[in-house]
């Protein structure tokens, strides 16, 4: 046949399985995020299909593609999946991958549920793009919520000089600046090997709140430098809580940081969380930060595909319609897919670490979805 015909695979018969493609980091630098996501996804699928692994009469067939954090591999994998007739794609551990796969999904009218990637850019990226995790805005709102009244206060963002850090700075300026605080930033190159100059700057700035936005392997050195230069003596420090494996890297200052958390094991306190934890533990995994993203993604996909007894599994537009505005009970609590921009409204948490060398996370406060909702992103 002609090349174009060859490209449109998938027979669409109603008894055929619903094909779901997971494009995520099975290897590469974000492999442990990917592992959590996958465990969560499997648990979520089992939970949402009540153990049947079926939507309506159709079984769910999951294909995993390892992108190793490389957008080129992710795009190739996604194209392959779409070519083979997948109408549903989920995954993307890395923001770079999420942005690229989202564009592909929009072009090809395929449902895309983005995973742990926190970039705000995915929200409102298009008709077919959804997200199962939180976004930077929600992180910032969470931090702000823990502050109470910020009017007249001085907030400094200690941020990695990257898209991630810049997004944080922008969000802080908008959220806290809007609430009457003055916000400024200390941008730190991602490849810095000595944080002392920046820590000194942070100390000298003497803000009322220091918001730290750092992702990367040198986090430990950064916390040590902040501690040694006495930053904790002059200000309150807030940052996002990473996966449990990294908790020891906060070192001796762990107890002094106020954490905003997307999720940590036990934070949700919901039925769904219990179900998730049971399943993940039984499968030999552990529940952590990104387990919920996988779990939520599975819930969303099962709902979308099952909207017309499974037939919708091949109709992306129908699936989009069924997801938009949908509220459901997730592991974190009540989740809502906002119709306007597909942001996932969700509870967030304030936490602290206790226990010295082997830290444990403790819930300080659960913030309701509305309190941390991001502004509506303009649709492209």
């Amino acid at each position: 046949g002609s090349p174009q015909q060859a490209a449109t695979g998938g027979d669409g018969a109603s008894s055929a399985p619903v094909k779901v493609g997971l494009v995520y980091s099975k290897s590469g630098p974000l492999a442990s995020y990917g592992k959590e996501y996958l465990e969560g996804f499997k648990a979520g699928l089992d939970y949402a299909t009540k153990g049947s692994n079926k939507v309506g009469k159709r079984t769910v067939e999951v294909t995993e593609v390892d992108d190793a954090g490389d957008p080129a591999k992710a795009v190739a994998g996604a194209k392959d999946l779409i070519g083979k007739g997948h109408k549903i794609i989920a995954g993307s551990t890395a923001s770079g991958v999420a942005v690229q796969v989202s564009a592909l999904a929009e072009q090809n009218k395929v449902l895309f549920v983005s995973g742990p990637a926190a970039t705000d850019a995915v929200t409102g990226a298009g008709k077919y793009t959804f997200r199962s995790g939180r976004q930077t805005w929600q992180d910032i709102r969470t931090a702000a919520a823990s502050l109470g009244d910020v009017k007249g206060k001085k907030v400094t963002v200690f941020a990695q000089d990257s898209a991630f850090g810049q997004a944080n700075v922008a969000a802080v300026k908008s959220v806290l600046g809007g609430a009457g605080a003055t916000a400024d930033e200390i941008m730190v190159p991602a490849s810095t090997s000595d944080f002392t100059p920046f820590a000194t700057k942070a100390h000298d700035a003497k803000p009322d709140l220091l918001f730290v936005a750092w992702a990367g392997t040198t986090a430990q050195a950064m916390w040590t430098a902040l501690g040694q230069q006495g930053v904790f003596d002059v200000t309150t420090v807030v940052t996002g809580l990473d996966i449990a494996a990294t908790w020891p890297t906060y070192g001796p200052v762990a107890g002094k940081i106020s954490f905003l958390s997307h999720y940590f094991a036990g934070a949700g306190g919901t039925e769904a969380e219990k179900a998730m934890t049971d399943r993940v533990t039984k499968a030999g995994g552990t529940v952590d930060l990104f387990t919920v993203d996988g779990f939520t993604a599975a819930q969303m996909i099962v709902h979308a595909a099952g909207s017309t007894n499974g037939a919708a599994g091949d109709d992306a537009d129908a699936m989009v319609k069924s997801l938009e505005g949908w509220s459901f009970d997730g592991a974190k609590g009540k989740l809502t897919v906002r119709a306007e921009d597909h942001a996932l409204l969700q509870p967030m948490f304030n936490a602290k670490l206790t226990g010295g060398a082997t830290p444990r996370a403790e819930l300080v406060k659960k913030l309701e979805p509305e309190a941390v909702a991001p502004p509506v992103a303009t649709k492209k």
Partner: protein
């Protein structure tokens, strides 16, 4: 004032770290003319071995274990990979590229991609007040180690014939043998020392960063390259000078100029030095 002191001392500390990483690279490059891309791997192996040993033994012993591991690896690499390729210098460099990729992947297979926490031993975790500045003690450790390594390597080069043999061997290996010298042994010794220096740098970098990842060596290697080249390829003294220069420039630029200028300024410093003095700060000599 205290800021100045702090920046100077930590800048020196950073320079010391760069020197520790670059010295082994410089030694192997300057003498054996092999730009060793696996240097980062030697460093990583040193760091992981130290990390592993630190759970069983005191810090000093753990570092010794790390250095030993790096040395053994370097010797094995020289014997198995570099030696058979001595007539093909480009292939020597390339084989280290492959080794580096494979080795780092192996570290990742063994210990995962996530950072492993490396607990700083007692004293190094604290700070000392110097003229009002809180200087982290690990910087003093780094500076001390760098000075010791510098002295030891200078002694090696000045007092033994190995340096001479290897330099001559790079020019004309057959002729060195024709003078009745077992040139292969000298190459192995130089690699062993380069590997030991790398592993020591790895152990100390682990202490410095407080965590280790398989990619640790790779990310530091680029700075080591820059230091080696600015210093004048293969010149140990130049390497030390360049390390201090790069450390200080980076530290001060990061504080006084905008973010990122520190890194970019170092890279531009490299380009400028090379264009003005293609041989680096010092010409090309091995002492």
């Amino acid at each position: 004032m205290s800021t100045l002191v702090l920046l100077t001392l930590t800048g020196l500390g950073l320079g010391a770290l760069y020197f520790l990483i670059a010295s082994g690279l410089s030694l192997i490059f300057g003498l054996a003319d092999v730009l060793n891309f696996a240097h980062g791997l030697f460093l990583g192996v040193g760091a992981y071995a130290t990390w592993w040993a630190a759970t069983y033994a005191p810090f000093g012993v753990a570092v010794a274990v790390g250095v030993l591991a790096g040395t053994i690896l370097a010797v094995a690499v020289e014997l198995a990979l570099i030696r058979p390729l001595y007539a093909r210098p480009i292939q020597q460099v390339l084989v280290t590229v492959g080794l580096s990729a494979a080795g780092v992947a192996l570290l990742q297979a063994g210990w995962g991609a996530d950072p492993l926490t490396f607990t700083k031993p007692g004293w190094t975790a604290t700070t000392t007040r110097v003229l009002g500045a809180a200087v982290p003690n690990d910087r003093f450790l780094l500076i001390g180690a760098a000075v010791a390594v510098f002295a030891a390597l200078l002694l090696f080069l000045r007092r033994t014939r190995y340096g001479l043999i290897v330099r001559a061997g790079v020019e004309d290996r057959a002729m060195v043998t024709a003078l009745g010298i077992d040139v292969r042994k000298a190459f192995t010794v130089v690699f062993a020392i380069g590997g030991a220096a790398a592993a020591l740098a790895g152990a100390l970098a682990a202490t410095y960063f407080g965590s280790i990842t398989p990619g640790l060596g790779g990310s530091l290697l680029i700075f080591a390259f820059i230091v080696v080249v600015i210093g004048g390829m293969g010149s140990l003294t130049g390497c030390a000078l360049a390390a201090v220069l790069v450390g200080l420039v980076q530290q001060f630029a990061n504080y006084y100029a905008a973010a990122g200028v520190g890194e970019a300024s170092v890279v531009l410093l490299l380009a400028v030095v090379l264009l003005v003095r293609p041989g680096g700060l010092t010409g090309r000599t091995a002492t």
